[in-house]
């Protein structure tokens, strides 16, 4: 069973890998829009990768107001 810490770590890995950003530059409290330099279209790509990786469905309305990796990981964790 994944812990929130594991989930957060996996989210950061996936984001780094998908958007070609060095993993060590990403922190759980970073704003992923600003840190990854992405817009809403690219955020959807990230969502798809996360859903496929964790085998979950994460309605995008649950991401309303979410802009940091830690809170994103919490939303994912609640679906595991």
């Amino acid at each position: 069973m994944r812990t929130l810490e594991n989930t957060t770590s996996e989210v950061l890995e996936l984001a780094a890998s998908h958007f070609n950003v060095p993993r060590e530059q990403l922190r759980p409290d970073d704003d992923f829009f600003k840190k990854l330099g992405i817009n809403s279209l690219q955020a959807l790509d990230l969502l798809t990768h996360l859903e496929n990786h964790f085998h979950i469905e994460l309605p995008d309305y649950e991401l309303q107001g979410v802009s940091d990796f830690r809170t994103l990981a919490e939303r994912i964790q609640s679906r595991l």
């Binding site: 809403s40 279209l41 959807l44 859903e51 107001g65």
Partner: protein, 267 residues
């Protein structure tokens, strides 16, 4: 059927299948230019004696298949007109779009939507006119219209109701959420999920399979199992036009147009 290269799309005949390729930055938003060229396509196809057995619709844009109606153009053009003429202009646009969608829906060949990335709103509706949908694993589907105070206006609801259970249609329509290709296949919307970037390739091999069958039989079978929900489509136009006239919709569109984000209505 002669090949065509337009400003927003192109088509060609390849190995017995017509390939219609959407290519308008940023993500094939359907405005007057795309609609005009789709109308040209409809005329070319209906006027030709083509032996083509399949039509594949795909996108050249990396962002996705199609992000929907060109809301920015829709808003800008409506603002140029006095209030009493806006409704008729909108109705004209919607009715023209419905004619194109209805033609594609009933086209006398097997149609395949090869989709990837954003397949939203009017883009989702375009894909829904096709007999088969092949999605790459990064495709996402959405009817975001309720977020703007509207309903899908290009025939999406009647076509989705034709294909899926009502509960699923309610979920997509009333929440406005996007779903991925895995979910789309699980609910019966997508027939095949393929690797990222491979949708067109797989659509072509599917079309090659279809080539083995007698075309007249295939057309008869399609007509038998795929009714066109004409009454509901007409009703949808009325509801859409009525909703569009509301001040809240104008305000929502203005906010959309003023935003710099690609899809400002998403979280």
């Amino acid at each position: 059927m002669k090949p065509f290269q337009g400003k927003t799309l192109s088509w060609q005949l390849l190995d017995g299948a017509i390939e219609l390729l959407l290519d308008r930055a940023p993500c094939n938003e359907i405005g007057s230019a795309t609609l005009g060229e789709l109308e040209q396509f409809v005329m070319a196809l209906s006027g030709s004696q083509t032996d083509a057995h399949a039509l594949i619709i795909s996108s050249a844009r990396t962002e996705g298949f199609c992000a929907g109606a060109d809301l920015r153009e829709l808003y800008r053009e409506s603002q140029k007109l006095p209030a009493n003429l806006r409704a008729s202009q909108l109705r004209s646009f919607i009715e023209r779009t419905h004619r194109v969608m209805n033609f594609l829906d009933a086209a006398p060949l097997t149609t395949i939507a090869a989709v990837h990335g954003v397949t939203f709103g009017g883009g989702f509706e375009l894909a829904l006119t096709c007999d088969l949908m092949i999605a790459d694993k990064m495709a996402r589907f959405c009817f975001p219209e309720l977020r703007l105070g509207l309903i899908p206006g290009f025939g999406g609801i009647p076509r989705l109701k034709r294909d899926l259970g009502n509960a699923v249609v309610r979920d997509l329509l009333l929440t406005g959420r996007s779903i991925n290709a895995t979910k789309a296949q699980a609910i019966g919307l997508v027939s095949q999920i393929v690797a990222e970037g491979d949708a067109l390739h797989v659509a072509r091999s599917t079309a090659a399979q279809l080539k083995k069958f007698d075309r007249k039989t295939a057309i008869a079978a399609k007509k038998f199992i795929k009714p066109i929900p004409s009454d509901e489509l007409r009703h949808e136009i009325e509801i859409f036009c009525e909703l569009f006239a509301r001040p809240a919709v104008e305000a929502g569109l203005r906010k959309f147009v003023e935003s710099k984000d690609a899809l400002p209505y998403l979280p």
